[in-house]
Symmetry: C2
Amino acid sequence: MDVRSIILGFLMGQSMTGYELRKFFSLSFSFFSGLSYGSIYPALRKLEAEGLISMALQVRDASPNRKVYTITERGREAFLSSIREPVPFEHQRYNFLMHLFFFAHLNPGERVGLARNHLKSVEKVRESLEEVAPEVEKGADRFQLLTFRFGLRFFSDLCANVEDALRALEEDAAATKGKEAAKARSRT
Amino acid sequence: MDVRSIILGFLMGQSMTGYELRKFFSLSFSFFSGLSYGSIYPALRKLEAEGLISMALQVRDASPNRKVYTITERGREAFLSSIREPVPFEHQRYNFLMHLFFFAHLNPGERVGLARNHLKSVEKVRESLEEVAPEVEKGADRFQLLTFRFGLRFFSDLCANVEDALRALEEDAAATKGKEAAKARSRT
DNA sequence: TCGATCATGTAATTGGTTACATGATTGC
DNA sequence: GCAATCATGTAACCAATTACATGATCGA
């Protein structure tokens, strides 16, 4: 699902400006990446040129002008046909796994450090997700709730997975240390 | 971690051709996307130009010539410093969740259909992962094993998550049907 | 007065993918 | 004889991000 369909999806519910779209998106989809203006504004222009959305300029003398976009009938059709498309799983790179794959080239301390660090960053995402939960759930329908809970569980699972990997690396490091200590003792 | 570091990582273990790199990658990282020649070959040229790898042309009269790449000392240093970089979690879009978010616009049957379909495609990935397990684990070191098991668990968790979402959608659909049946009865 | 928020946009860059182009060898 | 595998590469395209550019208003 690309920016275009996401924009159409939000406009199915209500008319909005590009600025508002971005806010909505960052909140609702805070467990994936946000959308930047650099992709939203060009997409809005294109969608308008294609007649899938229409624009109404709101001139205001106090605040900056706004361009309020509304989905058209053709836009609704386009959105519905895009959301009905099958959703194959698209695997994407997970950076930490790439690193882990090559961990043989690091020493035990470095491995544990990187894994711990990564765990923290995953936990941070989960926590921030839990933080915004009340606000997200306020305006959410049944399926948006389902989506959000899916996201929460996804991150809980991921944390547990990283934790276990970290534990394995820690045991490894402890064993190495133990061996070194034994070696040191045998030298005396 | 981009193509460059991945290539360097593989060449840390042994010298290889671009063709072999791709095979190695698709096998080892079959749970993320593969790498295409369109990204490997240009990367190899660039790495060579930068002196991080060196090339030896293997002329063979029977089979096509091969360009065997070997990592240089500078390449080893570059790889080590790249793998030591902290690995923040980068959230990426998960298409099915985007769809689920907008499921209110579909009817119950369509929702269940899409979810079921998606579950199948995730299960297929998990199964194919389990299939290649013996081959992957054969040549794998401790950390590559850890990586692989991480991947397996990631997909098991994901399947369970999708299954639960599907179950919720199915109950929903059943309830809707029930209501409609009741309505139909009340009309007679 | 200073930072946050509102509001819109462009240009350069990134990091790839897909399709195209070529051609020999090996096994069934 | 035909498909799969070995082997290398380019060109066009894609979908986004980052950084830049601008400027007003509002609250502490």
